[in-house]
């Protein structure tokens, strides 16, 4: 029988493209024959803006890249700047930073869990996920007063020390959360329909995944035990006990399971960090760079100049963000502003593999596979 292929535009406004991504699909009935990803609907020119701002002014922009998990973005940029300028960070500040990042990893995976299940048609898990997220956000609010865009980690430390009563509240949250993760697993993993939708969907082999530049949980779902926290340790991660979760199947279900396990590992890390929080200052007291005389009174950032000039040079620094390898490539020319900032975002590179994963499958599978890649459009388009 002669049939005609249907050209279907999914997005940029579509309930399950997680924002403003667009798929150009060539459909044979329900089956996807060709998929082309069109992006850039949220391209805000962050990299260009970085060239127009001072080093400190750029920190808030990093918040708005991956807005679900902003702390790791802060940290990745700050780490690059610190490496470039050779800034020493007190131990307590590193502990607080790791605490924030791991807490944010939990938040990110909660949102992932909810939105994945929502994409599959189950409307309830997202409510549960956001219920716990709200508690974590209250903790962030205690730290820095913001819910999503923190601007908390700065070169040389963190903006404010832990407030009073933070650690007990964190312990309370962790105690609650550990039970909740089990709940989610019970609620979701045993569901036959969920397994039908996830198993053997969007399969990608380990070699292909590496070649496509996938990183983070999406890569670990293909059985590659790769985690920058272990391979290229930074901050206090070498001293922490956690395992790298990975599943060999390479399908959507494996990618989902990796994140569930990671939530547990993050809670485990959080507990270690909270128990061993060292005393001391939460920010460096040394002065770095040549702070030009500006006349601006320094109030909040008294330990660190608002305007400083790292020595000329270039650096690429990467961390393990919740979505994968987040890297900042910063070039300094010795002035107060970065000469060039390049953001290597995990979502962008993970998305490359999508067309090869879903050709020959159906629209519902595209949504399931895309959901497990866990993409944030702010991070893709920058």
């Amino acid at each position: 029988m002669e049939t005609e292929q249907l050209l279907l535009n999914m997005g940029p406004v579509h309930p399950s493209t997680h924002g403003v991504l667009r798929f150009k699909l060539r459909m044979d009935g329900e089956i996807i024959r060709d998929c082309q990803v069109v992006m850039g609907y949220l391209h805000r020119g962050t990299e260009k803006l970085g060239e127009m701002k001072t080093y400190l002014q750029f920190v808030p922009y990093t918040d708005r890249l991956d807005y679900i998990a902003a702390m790791p973005n802060n940290y990745a940029y700050v780490k690059a700047v610190e490496e470039l300028a050779g800034i020493e960070v007190p131990e307590r500040a590193e502990f607080i930073r790791v605490l924030c990042m791991e807490l944010n990893r939990v938040v990110n995976h909660l949102v992932f869990l909810g939105s994945l299940l929502l994409d599959l048609g189950a409307s309830t898990p997202i409510m549960y996920g956001f219920r716990e997220r709200e508690k974590a956000l209250q903790l962030f609010e205690m730290l820095c007063g913001a819910r999503m865009t923190f601007n908390y980690i700065k070169p040389g430390g963190v903006r404010e020390d832990l407030p009073e009563g933070f650690i007990p509240k964190l312990n309370e949250f962790m105690k609650d959360m550990e039970k909740r993760v089990d709940d989610y697993e019970q609620l979701i993993n045993g569901n036959e329909i969920f397994l039908l939708r996830m198993k053997n969907i969007g399969v990608i082999s380990a070699e292909e995944a590496v070649n496509y530049g996938m990183t983070g949980p999406s890569l670990r779902g293909s059985g590659v035990k790769y985690d920058i926290r272990r391979l290229e340790p930074y901050s206090i991660y070498p001293d922490l006990d956690f395992k790298v979760c990975s599943y060999p199947e390479g399908d959507s279900y494996a990618r989902y399971m990796v994140r569930i396990d990671e939530m547990r590992e993050s809670l485990h890390i959080l507990r270690q960090v909270a128990d061993n929080m060292p005393p001391g200052k939460a920010a460096t007291t040394q002065r770095y760079g040549i702070a030009p005389e500006t006349g601006i009174p320094s109030s909040v950032m008294s330990y660190f100049p608002r305007i400083f000039t790292p020595p000329p040079g270039e650096v690429y620094s990467r961390i393990e963000a919740p979505k994968g390898e987040l890297g900042f490539y910063v070039v300094s020319d010795g002035t107060t502003k970065p000469y060039r900032i390049k953001i290597r975002s995990p979502s962008f590179c993970n998305l490359v593999a999508i067309p090869s994963m879903i050709v020959g499958l159906k629209i519902p599978d595209l949504i399931a596979a895309f959901g497990t890649i866990d993409v944030v459009l702010g991070d893709v388009d920058r």
Partner: protein
Amino acid sequence: MEKGGFRVDPVTIDTTKIKTEKKEPETALEKLEDTGLISTLLAARERKGLVLLTTIDQVFNWARLSSLWPVTSGLACCAIEMMAVAMAHHDIARFGMEIFRASPRQADLMFVAGTVTKRMAPRVKLLYEMMAEPKWVISVGSCANTGGPYHESYCVLKGVDNIIPVDVYIPGCPPRPEAWLYGVIQLREKIKNEGYGAKWGLNK
């Protein structure tokens, strides 16, 4: 009293005068007045239109403000807070707004939640045009209001009101869910004073 360059006049407040006495309605007329019906009708008459039409207006306005169905269109960061508003903790469903319609044809309200880039702008406009009248727009967050932190960028629209009319602006980056709810309540107040009659110039 000089303090920081501002002169503050001492003000004495007589607290006894603030208390207003609320009288229990006794007569039938007072009871009727207490329900607010008379004042509503008088207000309707003051609008110098047909009483019937204004009453229909009120019914429709009540219906409209009670069932504002938003269109599912998140653009950026604020969209995550939009999800947070819809979730159990803040529960926008209390206002009957939890029916997020994916199709703009069935929606009444558009949250422009996030940065509107130059490339997205015609799509947002198209989405707005696809919605059925009557429709409202709430611009959420600094980016949608003015361009916000991305004001200097080469590819960001400096305020969504450049392309579509906006009813309520909610500041913040992103606004807290409480601010969203406040914005929604402001829109409800605004809808109360709209109407067919007003639109057709009958009860102006």
